[in-house]
């Protein structure tokens, strides 16, 4: 399974933290293994592969997510939900799926189990590339399915420090990408938004692991260079052949709040049918796919 919820996924190793390796001057000078092949990669290509590695592994996937939100005073709240994902198959005739290069439309279904007062709450997303996503929310206690209009994607994901866009994936065409540095383990990519008025940041820098193409750290900063938010992949496991982030965090430096997401029961390529991702499932949860 690929971690839908990790904006970016982590490296195979837990701790080769970017700073350490990027400070190693030898790393910059000495060609490393595999560099011959990588040398050809442009920033856009790296970003495309990172996007694919983060959001499009397998044809579908499932995970149980434990989300812990800790505020600046250390007060914790937890949420638990199951997430199902299905990629819309590529147009007929194309073989991109096999080459892992497909990054098209997707559907997500989230089913909340905890805390008990939000038990059975559901969230359905149809992610589009050429227009705003469709989002529906089911509030069982009000017996209400509600469409949520997407004005922008920089809203909080269910009250956490992750934004909706961190979870669903930011379009690679929304930013210009520059490869600032290639360290022993990472590509360091600087991203500048094409439309700065739509986002709260002025730029973000991503450290992408050179082998897995999983982003292990992302720093969003404002025009004065102040870091606003920091994403980190805290744990990576290879599941079903795919390097998968199993633990990640997002810290909002302005509020001091941090959200950690832990993934369990990760599975890929389950063959989840498309009809699961409809409004009907919101009211009648598809149990067999959730447990």
């Amino acid at each position: 399974m690929k971690m839908i919820f990790s904006f970016i996924v982590a490296s195979l190793v837990l701790f080769p933290l970017l700073t350490a390796s990027s400070q190693d001057p030898a790393a910059k000078e000495k060609p490393e293994k595999g560099v011959q092949a990588e040398k050809a990669l442009t920033a856009d290509e790296i970003v495309a592969r990172a996007n694919q590695a983060s959001y499009y592994r397998g044809a579908d996937g499932r995970a149980v997510v434990k989300m812990t939100i800790s505020d600046s005073q250390g007060r914790e709240r937890q949420r638990r939900f199951t997430i199902l994902r299905r990629d819309t198959p590529p147009p007929e005739g194309s073989d991109t799926k096999e080459s892992d290069a497909f990054t098209g439309e997707q559907k997500f279904y989230l089913y909340f189990t905890r805390p008990s007062d939000v038990n059975r709450m559901g969230f359905l997303v149809h992610k589009h590339l050429d227009r705003d996503d469709d989002r529906w929310l089911f509030l069982p206690a009000l017996d209400l399915v509600k469409r949520i209009a997407a004005t922008d994607k920089r809203t909080s994901f269910v009250g956490s420090d992750f934004y909706y866009e961190d979870v669903s994936g930011r379009r690679t065409t929304d930013d210009t990408h520059t490869l600032k540095e290639t360290t022993q383990s990472y590509f360091v990519i600087e991203n500048i938004p094409l439309n700065p008025k739509e986002v709260e940041f002025s730029k973000y820098v991503v450290w992408i692991h050179r082998e897995t193409f999983l982003p292990v750290k992302t720093e969003y900063s404002d025009a004065e260079g102040r870091v606003l938010r920091t994403y980190q992949a805290l744990g990576v496991e290879t599941i079903g052949g795919y390097p998968t982030v199993t633990k990640s965090s997002m810290k909002d430096e302005r509020t001091g709040s941090t959200t950690v997401m832990e993934y369990s029961g990760v599975k890929y390529d389950l063959g989840i049918p498309e009809e699961i991702f409809t409004e009907r499932s919101l009211r009648e949860p598809p149990r067999q796919w959730l447990n």
Partner: protein
């Protein structure tokens, strides 16, 4: 007094060493005080000048109300805020036009950049709390988005492109209760930005930056900057203006008065030196001892200077009355110092005692103020009895000769017949009148005292930091304009906290249900017993158990999974019940309290609370929008789960943290933002009393305790402490001074008598304050005890002279003309010098200084008049009791 112990004796013999000692010690203190400010390494051993403009420090840092205030501010992530109100009176739509909104957008964007490195920790920044900024571009609306969709969106992400868009901003804001009356004015014409600060002492800096940006932007709309932090911080800046203006002017006024009385410069210079030396040394001592320059302590120099010259005036006028006879300066000064030593010591001690009594108040800055003035007064006394004789010895002969005839201009020996003795003639007539018509004097005094005393019952205890500024000050203008347009800019916070059940009660309640859960249930009960001794209350127990059960569920194998699933859900439901502020009936109760708040009336029958906001408003607003903006759905839904789901929907917005300003993440406590229309303590007190009685009459549906916090509330608490504390200080100093009077006159009745003019004066002044409707505020409160210590001086001088005169002349009728000669003139001169000496405080830009200056002057002049009118009449009336035995001296003369 034994002359060998008299410091004056030494100074007459060694005048130069006294001069060196005085200047040397003052210079040393001044260097010690100033050094750390100009030379950093000295800071490790010496205290730097620290300025404290925070009125919160009127209470000590460990005062429960302050501790609670800070705990709650942290609990609800609240910051002190600057309010920027924007009005455009010229445009029919107010500020809802393209140009004004464009500039408001720019100002909000600018405000976000007002952050600076934290001097205490370079890795952090201080300034504006960007994420909590309330401005059209930074707040959200929840609204319909077509096709039954709901949308969270910035109210004004970009400046409007046309007038229709500008008006749409207003229409959208008016639908969000949290914004209507807070960001958007009730009349729909004005906007207010709320700019939260990491610390309130940045208010002045942030406000200045905003003003600069407003100037750069231009535009026809007006920007008014307000909010308690600005008022308080601006006060600090004005405080220095006070010290820079009033203190030098006071010096000048005293100089002019002395010049008027004595006419000769060389006579005036030594007392002025004593005044300056005393004021400088005391302020230096204040700094060296690590005390802060505060609203109160900044007035110390202006208090010390007039008091410091008093004793010197006595010495110099006495010296020249006698010098003409002997032409022996050393012998004359010795005899003058012998006569004056005791009265000067006593008047100094009583003055010092009056100020030192302020140490009995529970208000630290007032204590510092009182104690250091007492020290300054004692210092002034010491340099007066040492330096003044030394100066007289050091004055070159040729000067002294020219001064020989220069007795005080108002005395009969000096310049008689040139109209300069108007005061003398007037006083002598007064003397005759009080003796012959003592019934009229006493009856009149009684009537005046009763009439004014009745005013005391009319005193209203009230203060308001905004009113510390003149009515024309920009802060006052902003206050008027903003509170006319908006719900109110003075924030009080009402918190409700759910009282947690005991561990035992909780355990008893969950055991039956958990027991039925099989293996998982048994493990849970074991865990519950393990946790019981370590958790604080039942709520914590259930919450810990629920977390633990969830962990067990994560680790459960297929076999035990269902059991843990059921157990975990059960515990979750139990812990849900502890979340009081998700319960519909509790939220509805908050709504009723908020409705009640709006009905509270102030002293004048006007509405005190303009608006209030709570988590209930958030729930109702989102609920309405979820149901197609149907006004009937503006309500709290019927289950706790529905509330939780509405709130998680609300949190899927740009500002999820907004919720935590109203409720804690565990939903066990909530704060209601109460916007008051005035910062009057009186109004805040009315609101707190009203809520207390409302809660008593309408108990909450769950065990909730209601408490207040916020700066507006803290002001009320310190005011209450101050009123009680000042009464204690006044009574304390009254008793101390009375004891000193009894000791001085070695007679209980003489002691009582000496207190009478002063008591009548203080009662009358406070009565006057009641009659004219002046609020009893901080400066008025401190007046009582400090005026007591000052005004008793007249009684001391008058009565000691009266007593010796009666002994000499046999009867009061015979003695009165003597007492109404030189002694009465000295008293009058002193009342004028000290009283007028305080008047430069009227030039200070801030009201509290003006109040202190005006009333101190009034009290001193009043006390002087009361002394020369009432005391002689009373002596006449009580002559038989006051002079019981025929005095041998009097009989013989």
């Amino acid at each position: 007094m034994n002359p060998r112990l008299n410091p004056s004796t030494y100074s007459i013999q060694h005048p130069r060493s006294v001069l060196v000692a005085m200047l040397g010690s003052t210079l040393l203190l001044a260097i010690l005080a100033a050094l750390p400010s100009v030379w950093a390494p000295a800071r490790s051993v010496l205290s730097e000048v620290t300025v404290d403009t925070d009125p919160e420090n009127m209470l000590s840092a460990d005062e429960p109300v302050r501790v609670f205030h800070h705990d709650m501010k942290e609990r609800f992530s609240l910051a002190d805020m600057i309010v920027v109100g924007v009005v455009d009176e010229a445009h029919p739509a107010g500020v809802f036009n393209v140009l004004a909104l464009t500039r408001i957008h720019r100002l909000a964007t600018f405000a976000k950049t007002l952050r600076w490195p934290d001097p205490a920790d370079e890795t952090r920044t201080i300034g504006v709390v960007e994420v909590d900024l309330i401005a059209p571009s930074t707040v959200e609306t929840v609204e319909q988005a077509g096709l039954g969709a709901v949308r969270f969106d910035w109210l004004m992400a970009e400046p409007p492109r046309n007038e229709a868009e500008a008006l749409a901003v207003r229409a959208r804001a008016s639908r969000i209760p949290f914004l209507d009356g807070t960001l958007l004015s009730e009349d729909g014409k004005a906007i207010a930005l709320y700019i939260p600060l990491t610390q309130k002492d940045l208010a002045h800096r942030v406000a200045s930056e905003l003003e600069a940006e407003i100037d750069r932007m231009g535009g026809t709309e007006e920007y008014h900057i307000s909010g308690l932090p600005v008022a308080e911080d601006t006060f600090g800046v004005e405080m220095f203006k006070q010290m820079a203006i009033s203190a030098p002017v006071a010096m000048l006024v005293i100089f002019m008065l002395m010049l008027l009385f004595f006419r000769k410069l060389p006579l005036i210079v030594p007392p002025m030196i004593v005044a300056m030396v005393s004021a400088i040394s005391t302020m230096a001592l204040l700094i060296v001892t690590g005390n802060t320059i505060h609203i109160m302590s900044s007035m110390i120099p202006i208090f010390i200077m007039p008091i410091a010259v008093l004793d010197a005036i006595h010495i110099i006028s006495d010296f020249f009355e006698r010098y003409g006879e002997t032409r022996d300066r050393v012998a004359t000064i010795r005899s003058v110092m012998r006569t004056l030593f005791a009265p000067m010591l006593f008047t100094t001690l009583t003055t010092a005692a009056g100020f030192a009594s302020l140490a009995l108040t529970p208000i630290p800055p007032v204590q510092t103020f009182g104690v250091f003035i007492a020290i300054g007064v004692m210092l002034a006394w010491f340099w007066t009895i040492t330096f003044i004789p030394a100066a007289i010895v050091l004055i070159p002969d040729r000067y002294l000769a020219s001064l020989a005839g220069a007795a005080p201009a108002d005395s009969e020996v000096g310049r008689a017949g040139h109209g300069a003795s108007v005061m003398g003639r007037l006083l002598s007539r007064v003397g005759t009148f009080t003796v012959e018509r003592r019934g009229v004097v006493l009856g009149g005094a009684l009537v005046v005292a009763i009439f004014l005393g009745l005013g005391i019952t009319r005193i209203t205890i009230n203060d308001n930091p905004t009113r510390w500024f003149d009515p024309g000050h920009p802060i006052r203008v902003a206050d008027r304009v903003l509170n006319a347009h908006f719900g109110g800019t003075y924030m009080g916070y009402l918190t409700f906290e759910a009282e947690a059940p005991s561990v035992a009660a909780t355990l008893a309640a969950i055991v039956p249900e958990v027991s039925e859960l099989g293996a998982a249930g048994a493990s849970i009960l074991q865990k519950a017993r393990d946790l019981s001794p370590v958790v604080d209350d039942g709520t914590a127990l259930v919450s810990r158990l629920a977390e633990w059960a969830a962990e067990q569920l994560d680790a459960a194998d297929d076999e035990s999974f269902d059991g843990w699933e059921t157990a975990s859900q059960l515990l979750d439901r139990k812990s849900e019940l502890a979340r009081a502020f998700q319960q519909p009936e509790v939220l509805r109760y908050l709504t009723r309290v908020q409705e009640y708040l709006l009905t509270i009336e102030g002293a004048g029958g006007e509405r005190v609370v303009g608006k209030s906001s709570s988590v209930a408003d958030v729930v109702k607003t989102v609920h309405r929008e979820l149901f197609l903006a149907d006004e009937a759905q503006y309500r709290v839904p019927d289950s706790a789960a529905a509330v939780a789901q509405v709130l998680i929907t609300y949190q899927s917005s740009h500002r999820p943290q907004d919720l935590w300003h109203f409720v804690t993440p565990d939903y066990t406590s909530a704060s209601v933002w109460v916007q008051l229309k005035s910062g009057d303590n009186q109004d805040m007190a009315i609101v707190t009393a009203g809520v207390d009685s409302y809660v008593a009459a309408n108990p909450p549906p769950a065990a909730l305790s209601a408490k207040w916090f916020g700066l507006t509330y803290i002001n009320v608490v310190w005011q209450e402490k101050m009123v009680a504390g000042m009464l204690k200080a006044f009574l304390g100093s009254f008793l101390v001074v009375l004891a000193m009077m009894i000791a001085l006159f070695r007679s209980f009745w003489w002691g009582i008598l000496s207190m009478i003019p002063l008591t009548i004066t203080v009662a009358s002044i406070y009565g006057l304050i009641g009659w004219i409707g002046k609020d009893y505020d901080m400066p008025v409160a401190v007046l009582s005890s400090l005026s007591l210590g000052l005004a008793i001086d007249y009684a001391i001088h008058f009565l000691s002279r009266a007593r010796s005169a009666v002994r000499e002349h046999g009867s009061w009728a015979a003695a009165a003309p003597i007492v109404f000669g030189e002694p009465a003139r000295a008293i009058t001169r002193n009342a004028i010098v000290v009283g007028v000496g305080f008047l430069p405080l009227l030039l200070a830009p801030l009201r509290p200084y003006q109040t202190v200056g005006f009333f101190i002057a009034l009290i001193l002049i009043f006390a002087g008049v009361a002394t020369v009118l009432i005391l002689p009449a009373l002596i006449g009336l009580l002559e038989r009791w006051l002079f019981p035995a025929p005095t041998s001296k009097g009989a013989s003369s």
